[in-house]
């Protein structure tokens, strides 16, 4: 039972992080290989506030998210003007720089031995509620004017620009939203494991999140949620196969990329409204105009 709860909690936290990556990579088409650094910032800033100054969870979370936003602004400003691979490079460098800082600032962060003693305040309920709130937020963003502008610039930046979309501003908005969400995932993570160390937030973690978004379908929030839940949960299910589980994970992802390149869900979204309409028309037998 404890195992189940912990798997579910980690899944919920991962869903939050992947939702953040979805905004950036899925909607806007930007690749961040340093996204996990925001999770690190969240976990460390909130953790330090709680450990050293006894801040309550809420204040620590707010503090961490503000720092995350500032960091997002600092990386985002130069980044959004660059081409795709350069964006990956800058965000990657940012991630490595944060990891190096966490490792070096031994007096503050505990260096490579990590930061321990964070109060355990993340419960399954809190994680799930947070995940739902983040999902609603991102769902709203996707369907807002900004979300549609993101989609427009992802498919053709030049065309989007010529239609009068302020590309840099839209990218920045997506970047900041994504940073804030990922930072919050880090806060929950730190307050759940009570112990964090720098190696948890390297670029492979960021890469894993990007893979999850693609696995689910780049355009589909439903897909991203499903993929993160499935790919976080699956290694646990395959626990018997211990070492082989990551291999299985990679093979499955490669198969999906090869044979269903739009991801599992493509552009499909579960939509309550559509479902309701569908049922409604069936019942009344009314032809749609």
């Amino acid at each position: 039972m404890d195992l189940l709860i912990s798997v579910l909690t980690f899944t919920a936290i991962n869903v939050i992080a992947v939702t953040g990556v979805f905004v950036l990579t899925g909607l806007t088409g930007l690749f961040s290989l340093g996204q996990a650094a925001f999770m690190g910032i969240g976990a460390y800033v909130a953790g330090l506030m709680a450990v050293k100054y006894n801040f309550p969870f809420i204040l620590a979370a707010v503090g961490a998210i503000s720092i995350g936003l500032v960091a997002g602004l600092i990386v985002g400003l130069p980044t959004i003007r660059l081409r795709r691979d350069y964006i990956s490079l800058v965000t990657f460098g940012f991630g490595e720089a944060i990891a190096a800082l966490l490792n070096q600032a031994v007096n503050v962060t505990g260096g490579a031995t990590g930061l321990s003693g964070i109060p355990k305040q993340t419960t399954l309920t809190l994680a799930i509620v947070s995940a739902v709130v983040c999902l609603i937020l991102v769902w709203g963003f996707k369907n807002s004017r900004y979300g549609r502008q993101c989609l427009a610039l992802r498919s053709d930046e030049l065309a989007a620009r010529s239609m009068g979309i302020d590309v840099n501003r839209v990218k920045m908005t997506a970047f900041l939203l994504s940073a804030a969400i990922t930072t919050y995932a880090g806060v929950l993570y730190g307050f759940y494991t009570t112990y964090v160390e720098p190696v948890m937030f390297g670029w492979t973690k960021s890469a894993e999140w990007i893979i999850m978004v693609f696995f689910g379908g780049v355009n589909s929030l439903t897909g991203a949620i499903f993929a993160s839940a499935f790919l976080t949960g699956m290694p646990e299910i395959l626990r018997a196969a211990a070492e082989w589980r990551i291999v299985a994970y990679c093979v499955i992802v490669l198969l999906i990329l090869n044979f269903k390149p739009t991801g599992l869900f493509g552009e499909y979204e579960i939509s309550l409204l559509a479902l309701w309409r569908h049922l409604g028309t069936r019942k009344k037998g009314v032809d749609r105009p």
Partner: protein
């Protein structure tokens, strides 16, 4: 002191250059950053190690075995992870994701077969250092420098002086048109993957010699990534320049601020550099809308 640092920087840069060029060849053709290259390096490093362990091969034979293994692995990777994506005409992003996944797969396979133990190559060199006045030159470094440079020169000859090289360049310029002109695009892509794997093999062995063997060795690929991006994506000369520059900067930074904190400074330098020159040193134009 400075001369010593320059020598160290050059030998580090030479290995980075091998990685960066292997990385850049694939970028040139298919326009994506091939993170599976790290996986190639890891696998080949282990392949070379096995050769030394079971057949007690010399350095050259080890390099040859490892690079052939790398070449074959490159061909296999193309078949398994990239061919369908190309046939589906999926966006470039898919190559990128596929390559990261493949890299992770190779890394984890190595973890399974060799566990996380550290292995080290036998010592190939009778003398380990040469003293030139006050300069100390490591023999492994010197040989790495020579072989890397030689490999790069041979590669340059292949690319600029042979028919295959011309085909390679024309495919990297425009894949579809060169296909219409009667070039067998698939063969050329395979050639590119073979060459990349081959270079990956040499860098894998060298990384294995300079560090120890461990499954995450391939993560050194990010050095090649940084170098080829700084050098200007799609330019092989740029990748080499970027790699040597990165090697130098890294050695000097380690001297100045220590190895722990140097990533922070490398990041800052990189950021400043990209702000001034967003296309990289060689500044080749990659024809891409937006």
């Amino acid at each position: 002191m400075t001369a010593q640092l320059i020598i160290n920087g050059l030998s580090l840069g030479a290995v980075y250059a091998l990685i960066a060029v292997g990385f850049a060849i694939i970028f040139n053709i298919l326009k994506f950053s091939n993170f599976a290259h790290g996986g190639f390096m890891t696998v080949t490093a282990y392949a070379g190690f096995l050769a030394t362990r079971f057949w007690h091969t010399s350095l050259l034979a080890t390099l040859l075995i490892a690079s052939l293994a790398g070449g074959l692995l490159g061909l296999l990777a193309e078949l398994v992870a990239f061919r369908r994506i190309r046939n589906n005409k999926s966006p470039v992003i898919y190559y990128f994701v596929s390559s990261i996944t493949l890299g992770m797969l190779l890394e984890n396979l190595m973890t399974i077969f060799f566990s996380t133990n550290f292995y080290s190559y036998p010592n190939f060199f009778p003398v380990n250092t040469i003293k030139l006045g006050r300069l100390i030159i490591g023999v492994p470094d010197l040989i790495m420098f020579c072989i890397s440079t030689l490999a790069l020169i041979i590669l340059a000859i292949i690319i600029y002086r042979t028919k295959l090289g011309t085909a390679l360049r024309s495919v990297s310029y425009d894949l579809d048109t060169s296909g219409l002109m009667g070039i067998n695009v698939l063969r050329i892509i395979q050639l590119a993957f073979f060459l990349a794997g081959f270079l990956g093999g040499i860098s894998g062995v060298f990384l294995g010699i300079s560090y120890t063997l461990y499954p995450q060795l391939g993560q050194m690929v990010v050095k090649g990534f940084i170098a080829s991006v700084i050098g200007g994506l799609g330019s092989l000369e740029g990748a080499v320049t970027g790699a040597f520059l990165l090697g130098m900067v890294e050695i000097f930074l380690i001297r100045l601020v220590g190895s722990g904190i140097s990533p922070v400074f490398i990041f800052i330098i990189m950021l400043l550099f990209l702000l001034v020159r967003p296309r990289g040193i060689a500044g080749s134009h990659i024809q891409e809308k937006a």
